[in-house]
Symmetry: none
DNA sequence: AATGAATGAGTATTCATTCAT
DNA sequence: TATGAATGAATACTCATTCAT
C-alpha cells in the first residue's frame, strides 16, 4: 500500500491547437454548467490540460470567456447569414425559423443556452456586452436581407422571446403555434 | 436601489420581521450584482445582519433565492393582473405594455433585471424553474382577460423578447417601435 | 405560489419523558453517525424535538454525551452481569462469549460501535473516561464471578480485541476460531 | 510531539517536500487532538503552511487522512516485520511484545493513539478501512514467521485488546500481567 | 418551563491568479 | 514555452451556545 495520487495526466507537452481546444471546451463547460461553473479549473479538467496552461494562454478568466463567446458568435452568425442568403423570400425565412424553433431542439438548445448565458453576463461585463451587440447587429442585418429594418428588429425580438419560452416551458408551443406567431410578420 | 454597506453593527438580538427583510434585501442584491453576486455574505452585509442569521432562516442559498424570486413574483404578478383587470379593452392593454417597456422607470428596469436573472437561473435550477413557470402561467392568464389564449401566448413571448432586448441592448427600441411591434397583435 | 417553509413540527408542548427520549436518541445518532455526527441539531432532528429543547435539558453537548453513554453502560453492564450470574461455570461463560462474538451480530454490532466510540472519546474527555472505567470495572467484576482477577482481566482484553477484529475485518473469525481462542483461558 | 504554532509566516514560495511535511504533521495533529481535531486549518497551522496549500495537495480531508494513516502503516508495519524477522523464536517475539506494550515509551504511546483513532475512523470510512485491513494482514503475516496462522490471528487479537486497554485505561496492566497474558500463546 | 431566533467562530472546499522553475 | 506549486480571499454551510420572549 503505497501513496499514489498521481493525477494520471498523459504527458503532452507538444500540443498545437491547444489554445483553440481550450476555447471550444470553455463553451462546452458553459453549456453544461453555466458561466458560474466555468472556472479555470473546470475548463482545465474538461480540456485535459494542466491548470497553468489556461492561465498561460489567457491572462484572466474574462479573456477566456470573451474568447469563447466570440468564437461562438463567429460560428453561429455566418451560418445564420448563410441561411438567410439561401432563402428565396420572407416566407422561406419564416419556414426556416419555425423549423429552428420547433425542430432540431438538440442543436438549438445548445445555442439557446449560450445565448442566454451570454446575455446575462453581458449585463455586468462590458467586454461581453460588445460581443452581444455584435451578435444582435449581425443577426438583424441578416434578417434585413428579407425584411425592412423595423420588421427585422421586431422579428428578432419575437424569436428571442420564443426561444426563451421553449427553453423554460414544460409545455412548449407546437409547430403550428410558432408558425402562427411568426406569420404575423409575413406578408 | 442602493445597498447600504454600513459596517456599524448595532446589537440587535430582537428583530422581528428580519426574515422578510432578508428576502427583500436578497432581491436588491440580485438586482445590483446578479445572482452570481448573491452570496450569503453579500446578502448579510446588505441586510446588516450577521452571516449566521441568513443560514438560520434559509438552510441553503437555493432556498433563499427561491424565497426571493417567489416574493418578487407574488408582488409583480398580482399587480399585472390588476392592470389587466382595470384595462377597458385590448387597446388599453397594449398602451400599458408600451408604457411599461418603454418607460425607463426605475421600477421597470428593476423588474426587467430580476426577470432575466431568474430566467437564466431557472435553466439550471428546478426550484426556480417552478417559480418561472408559475409566473409565465399567471401572466398569460392575465392577458387572457383581453386576448384569446393563442394570442395571449404569442403576445407574452413577444413581450419577453422585447424585455430581453431592452434590458440588455445599449440601443433599445423607442416607444414608437415597441408600439408598432405590439400592434401586430391588436385588433 | 406562496412562501411556506414551515418546518412541519407537530405542536407537542406537553411531552413527559422527553429527556429520556433525547438520551436514547443520542445513542442512536452516535451509532449511526459517530460522536462526530452527534451534534445538538442532529439529535434534535432525530428525536423530533426543537433545538432549544436539547440545550434546555442539557447545558452542554458534553453533558448530553455523558448522559447517553452512562445510560448505555447502565443497560449493558447489568445485562452482562446477569448472564455471568446465570452461567453455571467458566465453560458456560465461554460458550456465551462465543455466541456473543460470533452470533447475533446485529445487536452486538451496535454495542461494539458504542464501545469503540466511547473509548476514543474517553481518551480526550475526562467525563467520558470515568464512564469508560466504570464500564471496564463492572465487566471485569462480572467475569470474576467465574475467573480469578488476573484471568478475568486478560479475558476482557482478548474479548475486546476480538470485538475490534470482527468489527473491522472483512474476513472475521468463524465460531470455531473464536471458540479456540477463548479456550486458552478455560481449564 | 509538540506542534509549533509560530504565527510568523516567512514567505516561502519554493518549498519542496512540503507535501510530505503536511502528511507527517497531520499524524502529529491526530495524535495530539484526535481525528476530530484534524481539520484543514489545524494541520495548516501546525505545519506552518497556508490553508490553501493543504487543499492544493489533498483535494479532500479524507484524502489527507488516508495519506497520513497510510504513511504511518508504511512506517510501522515494516519495522514490526523487521523485529519479527530478527527474533530467534516465539519466546523472543513475546518478549518483544511485552516490551512494546508495557514500556511507556513515547513512541509506543504515539503508535497506540494512532491505531485507535484509525480503528474508529475506519468504522465509518471505507478508504481508511482498507488501510486498517492492510495493516492487520501485514501484522498477521509478520507473526506467522513464528506462529501457525491460527495462533497468529489470536495473538494479534489479544495484542489489539491489550493495546486498547493500555491506551485508554488509567490503571494499565503491568509488565508481569502482560507477560502472563501473552504466555498463553507461547509454547 | 420551553423554544424560536440569534450569533460568531468554525468547517471543508473552490477559486483566480501569481510565481519559481 | 509551459507548468506544478503556491496562496489568500472567498464560497456554502454547520455548530455550540446564548438570549428574548
Amino acid at each position: 500500500m503505497t501513496v499514489s495520487e498521481a493525477p494520471a495526466r498523459r504527458a503532452r507537452r507538444y500540443d498545437p491547437g491547444r489554445r483553440d481546444r481550450i476555447v471550444a471546451t470553455t463553451l462546452d463547460v458553459i453549456v453544461e454548467h453555466g458561466i458560474a461553473g466555468a472556472s479555470h479549473r473546470a475548463v482545465a479538467r474538461a480540456a485535459d490540460v494542466p491548470l497553468g496552461s489556461i492561465t498561460y494562454h489567457f491572462a484572466t478568466l474574462d479573456e477566456l470567456l470573451t474568447a469563447a463567446f466570440t468564437a461562438h458568435v463567429d460560428t453561429v452568425a455566418p451560418r445564420f447569414d448563410e441561411r438567410m442568403r439561401a432563402a428565396r423570400d420572407s416566407g422561406a425565412v419564416l419556414d426556416y425559423l419555425v423549423e429552428h424553433l420547433a425542430g432540431d431542439l438538440l442543436d438549438s438548445a445548445r445555442d439557446l443556452v449560450v445565448m442566454v448565458e451570454l446575455y446575462v453576463a453581458a449585463a455586468r461585463n462590458p467586454a461581453l456586452r460588445a460581443v452581444t451587440q455584435d451578435w444582435m447587429a449581425r443577426s438583424r442585418r441578416s434578417l434585413e436581407r428579407h425584411f425592412d429594418p423595423v420588421t427585422a428588429r421586431e422579428l428578432d425580438a419575437l424569436v428571442e422571446g420564443l426561444v426563451l419560452h421553449s427553453a423554460l416551458s414544460t409545455d412548449p408551443m407546437d409547430r403550428d403555434q410558432i408558425q402562427h406567431a411568426l406569420a404575423r410578420f409575413a406578408r
